[in-house]
């Protein structure tokens, strides 16, 4: 693994992370019907990182993403984005959001869907047109600007949603299982596209997924979560070389890391909060091979 880029360790991450979560918890409901979705979450995400949140359903990974975006508030703890409270960051339009569904507006053309946040934020008309044209190029949908959403395939619609999220140049992109509804082939192609876009924009990305290969392929770090109550059980550094390409999925290290994440998901509390290193992965491989 000599060709892999050096992994960031927590100590040399920037002092002021883009996302800083301290002791965050979220409980839905009150009394004996209360459900604790998240408990004691500590997480710092540095500038330019691509961090995936992965875990079984009910582990609160989507809730954690929504806490970062201030789409819901924490019951305990604090969430800071760009060194200010999450709410202020939302009001300052510091992040772009992509949901599992594209959430496009049928009455708007593709170009005007991309321009929606720009309209709300009061950008002048020429600027909106310039940006939507640029973004249509970025997501490779030139020539589709006058169509309406239902005339596009699911993968194309999700590309429009990504373009819309990037329209106002947010430094942080929050993605909630954006490719979860797509078929495997489309999903892999979208992953490559996302890597290309991430490489060009340098945006910090927080990405929720339930696909292990997807998380490993995309991320610089994978945050493995466990359920009931949702908490961070382990963080796996992904030291695969950049840029990620079709060949990345064939590297031996890629399979090692997929195995490491799978192991972490299987044994949520074995190494709580630990960092993956080569020894762990090696041990995981030996275990895996021993079983096989």
């Amino acid at each position: 693994m000599t060709d892999s880029q050096p992994t960031q360790s927590p100590s040399d991450r920037p002092a002021r992370p883009v996302v800083a979560i301290a002791g965050a918890g979220k409980t839905f409901g009150t009394g004996h019907t209360a459900v604790t979705a998240l408990q004691g979450i500590d997480l710092a995400i540095g500038s330019g990182e691509f961090v995936s949140l992965i875990g079984p359903s009910g582990c609160g990974k989507s809730t954690l993403l929504r806490l970062i975006g201030d789409l819901t508030g924490p019951t305990t703890g604090e969430i800071r984005v760009n060194d200010k409270p999450a709410r202020q960051a939302r009001l300052d339009r510091d992040y772009g959001m992509v949901f599992q569904a594209p959430v496009l507006m049928d009455w708007r053309t593709i170009a005007r869907n991309i321009e929606l946040p720009l309209e709300i934020m009061g950008f002048p008309k020429e600027e909106r047109a310039r940006r939507s044209a640029e973004l249509l190029r970025l997501v490779e949908l030139e020539g589709f600007q006058h169509l309406h959403p239902w005339q596009l395939s699911g993968g194309m619609q999700q590309r429009v949603a990504i373009a819309r999220a990037l329209a106002f140049d947010p430094k942080l992109l929050l993605m909630d299982e954006p490719f979860g509804a797509l078929d495997e082939m489309t999903r892999e192609r979208m992953n490559l596209e996302l890597m290309r876009i991430w490489g060009r924009t340098g945006t910090t990305v927080v990405f929720v997924t339930h696909s292990i290969p997807e998380a490993v392929f995309l991320s610089t770090r994978v945050v493995v979560m466990s359920a009931r109550p949702g908490r961070v059980s382990r963080i796996v550094d992904i030291d695969l070389p950049q840029p990620r390409t079709v060949d990345t999925r064939e590297l031996e290290r890629y399979f090692e890391l997929v195995t490491a994440v799978r192991e972490a998901l299987r044994q949520p509390d074995a190494q709580s909060g630990g960092q993956a290193d080569l020894d762990d992965v090696g041990a995981a491989r030996i275990r895996a091979e021993g079983i096989a």
Binding site: G69, L71, R90, L91, D92, R93, Y95, G96, M97, F99, A101, V103, M105, D106, W107, L116, P117, E119, I120, M121, H148, W150, Q151
Partner: protein
């Protein structure tokens, strides 16, 4: 529109026209063959003759009843839309008013026709306008509220992520979302307003108004003449309905295309 478009549209209308002509022909021939008395069920040719015979009075009636229906439609749609906007805006108002509105929409409004005549006088257009407006109000209000509030939750979160204010959300999400619902209500409203106007006239009105014309000539046993007014009432309702359809086509071209499954 190009020639192919015209031809395609004409092809779309053709079956309806053919069916209409066949029905007329069957109607005419069956009644002739079985020698049905014209006071029971007059033949189309007899109705047309009656229509031409008294065209001046009937035309006056169409204008009068049409004014009532259109006036009631405009007032009712306006008030229903305003009430819908207000109801959707304030959650407490919604919780109180929507059940009331749904309940109130089952009131037989025509029963108030004699009262409205007592208020405004039988010769005025106002009694039937009031009835038509009341009949139109509830479906428009309920559909407006539905369209404004049945918004995709994720779309609301998207707007929230942009820190969009209530007015922005109303303008860019709720109102566009409500327009198809509102136009559906408008279509229902057009026919309801004509029914309200014509049936409202049964309780009183000038002699040439379509409702009075129908009741008067049935009382005189001049059924073909009454039928002429019935046919005109139907035509009035259909014309108003088509007006709403055309308005929707112009206002929401994307919705038409979507329903047609164009790609």
């Amino acid at each position: 529109m190009n020639l192919a478009g015209v031809r395609r549209r004409a092809a779309g209308w053709l079956p309806a026209v053919v069916v209409f002509v066949i029905v007329l022909v069957l109607w005419e021939t069956t009644l002739t063959v079985f020698q049905v008395q014209s006071f029971l069920f007059p033949r189309p040719s007899v109705i047309v003759a009656a229509l031409i015979d008294d065209r001046a009075t009937l035309w006056k009636g169409v204008l009068f009843t049409g004014t009532e229906a259109l006036g009631g439609l405009v007032v009712g749609v306006f008030l229903g839309t305003v009430a819908g906007l207000a109801t959707a805006r304030w959650a407490t108002a919604r919780e109180i008013l929507v059940p009331v509105a749904i309940g109130a929409s089952s009131i037989p409004i025509l029963a108030f026709a004699p009262i409205t005549i007592n208020w405004f006088g039988a010769e005025s257009v106002l009694p039937r306008m009031t009835i038509a407006a009341l009949m139109v109000f509830f479906p428009v209000m309920v559909n407006t509220v539905r369209g404004l509030t049945q918004v995709e939750p994720a779309a609301l979160e998207l707007m929230r992520s942009y820190a969009a204010g209530d007015m922005e959300i109303l303008r860019r999400l709720r109102i566009p979302n409500a327009l198809p619902y509102w136009f559906t209500a408008l279509r229902i409203a057009t026919t309801l307003s004509v029914i309200g106007a014509v049936v409202g006239e049964f309780f009183g009105g000038p002699l040439y108004s379509l409702g009075i014309y129908i009741t008067y000539y049935t009382g005189q046993f001049k059924y073909p003449t009454a039928w002429a007014a019935i046919v005109l009432s139907c035509a009035l309702g259909i014309a108003c309905y088509l007006g709403a359809v055309v308005a929707e086509r112009f206002a929401l071209p994307w919705h038409q295309a979507r329903l047609a499954g164009e790609s």
